[in-house]
Symmetry: C2
């Protein structure tokens, strides 16, 4: 039996290598059609499943691509990082499958300016294990127990108290839902409130994963521009009256990707508009605590008395990505609908993660840790701004968050910049990916949060050199 | 500011108590309409939001219910545990919101025969914390790191090797997806493959949460009965030809709720039917390792060469419910579709949970632990069967799994048995809940896995007494 398995594994690898070698030796040229599954199976005297598996892996490694019903073709070197889904815009499609992209490119890219993640060295990894051990002492049966759908009551009460203290808002633990990260929160909201062809309002630009999620639900997206000073509220009101959107998904504090923060007066006005037009506001506040000089204005949610705001607060990025904990706050009738969706989706987030998070969140060390992160990120932001100064490109220096949103000169060849950067082991996010309308091709998002200071300097010098070579 | 918050909390509680007292003193009788939100707000001189919150909590505690646009009414005592969603069948609707039910009833119910969970005292809680500490030593940055969408490669490779060793199947780590429990796996599959009005085939009876999930996707459900010896394959084939279902959701090993196991000859035939009619088989195998005498037949999935089976293997129930880890196995083109859904749903399960699970799964202690669980559960099954012997009710003694599926005499008042049992602090699952056709009202599911031996004996004696009082 063992021989049979080894033999099958050997055959699979044999097919894979056979195809790869011919591609690498240029026996099969770029965009040339390779033998069909059936053909190669016959030629190599192996099972079709074996060839199919090898072809799937070659496709996943961007060595070949599939054209509708025409078969498999050799991938070209330039577009090999970009073409994967047969979509019309390869840059966009590549990033729309962003995790797929990171699986492909992560090992290869030394200068990572595309993922808005915090350098793991800035997180207090050593102390985490202390908290975890404490959790097991406090709750010996934590691994044997399911959480409720809504989330651990102790955690919800702790978070409730936190929000009451911070913002003088009055909410109760019943109005909180614990989700497995903000992605899940957005997805549950989209599933619960959006049916195909519902109109949803988005900022432009916005968070690409949220764009994907609402589109997957069949939503039609109408956009309102976000500026350093917020929105054009008159324009916003016109759109609301004209298109009657079901909801407005917004990220008004250290906005991703722009870094802009919507001022207080607008926050109050937004709530009034929402109540007047019966519009749900979905406030995604993932970057709230990552401020440089002073804390940002209170969440829009704290100005809401009519129950039109659903507030998403993720703690993942700067506390513990590996735990995946976020909370949603909203009034009861909205909460009941979300609970149904959550119960179908996974029946409750894992209890262990909630308890670990609870204890770390409640600790003094968290505050010290956040302080250090703020300082470290501000330094990195400044390094990035120094390195980019020579280009003459324009950006608004953000007061918090993880990214610079940079405007390239008109007609700058952004796609080429992307592929040349990849060749130099550098990644960033093209503006198109953050645009529901898929334009904004003169803009790029550069994250300063992931690379360390040395990598930032080296990588940005290289990046600037690549850009300059394209400007001639 | 603090005074204001305390005052608001006080008002909320005041309204809640006010209404509750009147109901308990019978000043407001069962099914009587209570004051509207606006009315009571005016009477008590509080904000409408305060009254609304109090009413929502009363509704959640089953003290009042809402009738369409008519307002709030006092809940009756008999149906108070059952009515919550304005659905036509209260028993079914109560259990369809099963977690809601457990939140309401868990504290009150001493004899828990409704939740197919394993007594946490049977799980090796003490040793878990050792494994967790080990994980932090091995992966110091585990909390600072996201998992990929598909799941930790090391875990997938370990599980792949496990399946290869167990079943002599040949799969690769690419064909595994890690999900946050089997609930999420079923949900992702429903979202990916089912559009409204697609027909899906279900066993009858089946797993109630799966029924809910597919119905929520708009599926039309066609059922095929499951018997102690499996299915009527001729009938099955007729249904497939007639209704052309997209998929067949099945649980062929220690089936929930019946405990039946589909024999090997049928497993092979099912795969042939699936391939012939291009039917997807969704094999949910959550109870595979909970066998009493000998291991069950290999999964249907191991007979599949055409890629028509999607295999779900959850380890939650008997390894660690608190971690929520399951794996899905299927061929690449199906996997790619699931990956898109998973990436939208939550972008990957938490890494910490996967690493903890990986190390525990790979340990010797797991085998010893499983052995103990099997023995303990077999003893509990036998205790339950002994206690029920006196009733003359009929059931097929299961060879594994967590439940007895018991047939009551014709016309037995099952609803009344349920409410009288609740009064005696006993819970079980009425057969209707497990039936896609919402009949099977003479059947009940009793789980022997949660209560300890003493609680089993006491609780079942009480239960039998209640049942006997209803037979007269």
């Amino acid at each position: 039996m063992d021989k049979t398995i080894e033999h099958k594994d050997y055959l699979f690898k044999k097919v894979y290598d056979y195809v790869l070698h011919r591609i690498e030796r240029n026996e099969w040229k770029e965009h040339e059609k390779i033998p069909s599954v059936r053909q190669l199976a016959f030629e190599m005297n192996v099972h079709r499943l074996t060839v199919l598996k090898a072809y799937q892996l070659l496709k996943k490694h961007d060595k070949v691509y599939v054209k509708d019903k025409a078969g498999y073709f050799v991938q070209s070197i330039e577009t090999k990082h970009l073409e994967n889904l047969n979509q019309s815009n390869p840059i966009v499609s590549a990033y729309l499958q962003k995790n797929h992209l990171s699986e492909i490119h992560q090992p290869a890219v030394s200068y990572q300016f595309s993922q808005a993640l915090i350098d793991s060295n800035l997180l207090p990894n050593h102390y985490f294990s202390d908290y975890v051990k404490k959790v097991f002492d406090l709750y010996p049966k934590v691994l044997a127990t399911y959480s409720t759908v809504q989330g651990d009551l102790e955690l919800r009460e702790t978070l409730t108290q936190y929000f009451i203290n911070q913002y003088k808002t009055h909410i109760s633990a019943d109005e909180l839902l614990i989700t497995s990260g903000s992605q899940q929160a957005i997805h549950l909201i989209a599933q619960t409130f959006i049916k195909p062809r519902d109109v949803v309002l988005f900022e432009r630009p916005s968070y690409s994963a949220a764009i994907d999620i609402f589109k997957a639900q069949g939503a039609q997206i109408v956009t309102v521009d976000i500026h350093p000073e917020g929105y054009d509220l008159q324009q916003l009101e016109l759109y609301i009256k004209q298109y009657k959107p079901r909801l407005f998904y917004l990220n008004p504090t250290f906005h991703n990707p722009t870094g802009y923060t919507v001022p207080i007066e607008q926050r109050k006005k937004l709530v009034e508009l929402a109540e007047h037009y019966r519009l749900l506001l979905i406030e995604d506040d993932a970057y709230h605590d990552i401020y440089f000089d002073e804390p940002p204005p209170p969440p829009i949610y704290t100005y809401d008395s009519a129950g039109t705001v659903i507030y998403i607060r993720s703690f993942c990025k700067y506390i513990s990505p590996g735990l995946r904990i976020a909370t949603v706050i909203c009034q009861s009738s909205l909460m009941n609908a979300l609970l149904t969706a959550k119960s179908l989706a996974d029946n409750g987030s894992p209890l262990l993660n909630q308890k670990i998070f609870l204890h770390y969140f409640s600790s003094l060390r968290l505050q010290q840790h956040l302080e250090k992160i703020r300082i470290a990120l501000q330094i990195r932001k400044e390094i990035m701004e120094e390195e980019l100064a020579i280009t003459g490109w324009r950006w608004t220096s953000p007061k918090g968050g993880l990214n610079l949103w940079v405007q390239l000169p008109n007609n700058f060849p952004t796609e080429l910049l992307l592929s040349k950067s990849f060749e130099q082991n550098i990644s960033f996010v093209p503006g198109q990916v953050c645009d529901p309308l898929k334009q904004l091709s003169s803009w790029i998002r550069l994250s300063y949060s992931y690379a360390n200071e040395k990598q930032l300097k080296e990588g940005l010098k290289r990046f600037v050199a690549v850009a300059q070579s394209l400007s001639k």
